[in-house]
Amino acid sequence: MILYACALGLCLTAALVALLPARAVTVAAEVITALAGVVAAVAGARATLGHGWSAWLPDLLPLGGLRLALDPLGGLFTAITGAVTVCAAIHGIGSGAARATRAVIPLFVAALLLVPAADSVSTFLFGWELMAMTSLLLVAAEHRDRPSVGKAALWYAVMTHLGLVTIMCGLCYLAAGATGDGFDQLRAAELSPAARDVIFLATLAGFAAKAGIVPLHVWLPRAYPAAPGHVSPLMSGAMVNMGVYGVVRVGLDLLRGGPVWWWWIVLALGALSALYGVLHAAMATDLKRLLGYSSTENMGLVLIGVGAAGFFAADGAGPLAALALTAALLHVVNHAAFKTLLFQAAGSVQRATGTRDLDALGGLRTRMPYTTALFAVGALCASALPPGNGFVSEWLLLQSLIHALPASGVAGAVTMPLAVGAIALTAGLAVATFVKAFGVGFLARPRSPAAERAAESPRTAICGTALAAAACLLLALDPALVLPALTAAVTRVIPVGRPVTGEVTLRLSAITGSISPVLIALALAGAVAAVLSLVRAVATRRVRRPARLWDCGAGPVSARMEYTATSFAEPLQRVFVDALQPESAIDVTVVKESAYLVQRVRFRARVPDRVERLLYEPVLAAAVRLGSQARRLADGSVHRYLSYGFYALTGVLIVLAVIS
């Protein structure tokens, strides 16, 4: 508890220090924030290992007071937030962000720490709103430099506050049925099934919006590119997790599970998000937008796990539920690690080249060698291939789904194979996505002058990114390291034995299955070494002689002949043409004298977000129409405005007179 309080205190100190005018303290705020991250990570880890605590500070908030408690589940998310904060803060040292931005970041971290430690509805909503407000300020930070930022911030503000409203409605309804708003009292509440359904669906909508789940994901690919370089890792690595935390806390803990159909919805939303997210990530050409859609994909995978866990728990298959939830939480940890790494690398690229457009990047391998290597690690982890860390959690998830067949009747027999298929397709597309991001963005030749002029990031930025990469590698080779924390968090909500055991080799206790990431990595390394030495042995028999690359006789190879991100994704776009419905327009201008002589051909292609087009644009258009019609009500006449009040008052009085 003291550690947790220290972390919050350090965050506030950092915010104050950042506001000081002296130049000497420009680094201090980030250093203090990093320190706060370390302390928070330790506090969270201690909570997962059984040193939980609870506190009630009645004077800090009106009405209910500030009620805090850190149990293993909250501790896990606190630890993740702390770890991400350390990396992001180190990466942000010397980033040259505005003073206000640097002051808000620690407050954002404090809000992120507050949410998983909240132990009452009012405290939770307070933390949630603080998190929404501070993150909104950070998203809008660069609105003067780029016009798109203001629009992104507007989208984010609307979505996050709609989410807050539904969460608030759900939790307040729950608190109204209980004896108080403390979480302990909510757990003891006796509610009718219909009320529980309403509460779950309302909170699910809000939490899904925060986690970037389809169809509530629209803010995510906008907000991440808009946010400053070292803020997107915090948002993607720490903030979206809070959506998952909310679903687990409310659905599995406060409401103690529910009917099977709740979890079908969660599972279906997860599968839809995973597929939709990865498809759009594969199509994206903006590096941060790509990573944003990839967040939607990974949160979708996590929700598949959470949904499966709830499904099994409702079905009475406790050990399987625990395994699925362990897989989901492990994926949260892994996603936080590799997404922090990737966003930091993307931020470095943006700082070095001034662009995020993959079609204009390339050739960074020689100019930014460290960033390239680190991004490669992140891309490997994100594409869920061994020996990356994403592989372990997805494998666990698949195991829990595959072994559900005998246990869970007809419904499970239909649902689970579909979910397995969705995960498999997602994993395959993720590989294509990150091959594209890495290959087009970092290898080959530079496609624009901006990419040619790129220079390696400052040492602190590389340090922060390397720290995240080290975490990724550690998680990839030794996931057993975080196993005790995960087990504690899972048993907090699904009290069965340890679902996964083992040190080097992970053994599943409910079903037969085991995996040893270290051995897989060693075998892979051995195989690669063997193939390389074989190739070298064969190749060195011939005499080497330098020659020009074959270029079909079309002159020297230039950057224009390379694959771009768009062309790399084109085959996939063809395969999924029905799902994506891409738009293209060809604009031919001919010479005046002859229709056969073309002066200029312009080709434009775009992959629009269909959910946005079908779901949001009609609503927005209707709102705009309504607004412009409502303007007629206000024509500037004072008498008219006064008469509105008069008519309303007399109208209410007439109604009162009639009904009384």
């Binding site: 500037g636 006449s637 008498h639 009162l656």
Partner: protein
């Protein structure tokens, strides 16, 4: 004060209160409107003082005198000064004609009586039975605000509403604390001063105080 006398005096004050309020709608001469408003202030002061005398409450009686002074002397004085500064003696053609206004007032009175029945039923005393009158004057004040064009009539409409609220407060309770009444009265004084400044400004900018000129300001 004996009970029959008290009831008669209270009804007289309330009747005067209502009548002056309605007559404001009838007259178009601004000076007459101000005069009527002053009379209503007297009626309001008398109403409070009568209640104070009946309950032998010195504080309430003094308060009645103070309210009467403020609303019958000070506020009309301020308005007369504003009127003298300009050269508009009469109300411009109102949005609703005088005859129609008086008819509307009749309807509003019935509405007020219908709505305040539950309030009266809570504690049927001579004082609470006069609550519908306060509500009527409130609605009449609002109606003046909506239909009259000159800034000065607007001020009177606003003050009618405030008079009505004060009357309702004193009719339903056994007396508002002095601090609250002082605060409210000061607020009213401030509002009138602000409106006077606004009137002067409007006259300087548009050459008149017809509120419809302000329409040009909207975006």
């Amino acid at each position: 004060m004996t009970d029959p006398v008290y009831v008669q005096a209270l009804d007289l004050a309330c009747g005067a209160f209502l009548l002056t309020g309605v007559l404001v709608l009838w007259r178009r001469d601004l000076a007459a409107i101000i005069w009527l408003f002053g009379l209503q202030g007297v009626a309001l002061g008398a109403l409070i003082a009568v209640r104070g005398l009946h309950e032998a409450d010195v504080e309430l009686t003094v308060l009645g005198l103070g309210v009467g002074l403020l609303r019958a002397v000070l506020l009309p004085c301020l308005m007369r000064r504003a009127l003298a500064a300009g050269d508009e003696g009469r109300e411009a053609r109102p949005h609703v004609s005088v005859a129609a206004s008086l008819l509307v007032t009749a309807v509003l009175t019935m509405l007020a009586y219908a709505v305040s029945q539950p309030l009266v039923r809570l504690a049927p005393t001579p004082a609470t039975q006069a609550v519908p009158i306060a509500l009527t004057v409130l609605l009449v004040g609002f109606f003046v605000l909506v239909t009259r064009r000159r800034a000065l009539s607007q001020v009177v409409g606003f003050l009618l509403m405030d008079n009505a609220i004060t009357a309702a407060a004193f009719l339903t309770t056994t007396g508002v604390p002095l601090v609250v009444e002082l605060g409210v009265s000061l607020d009213v004084l401030l509002a009138v001063l602000a409106l006077q400044v606004l009137t002067t400004r409007m006259r300087a900018a548009f050459g008149g105080t017809d509120l419809d000129e302000l329409r040009e300001l909207h975006d």
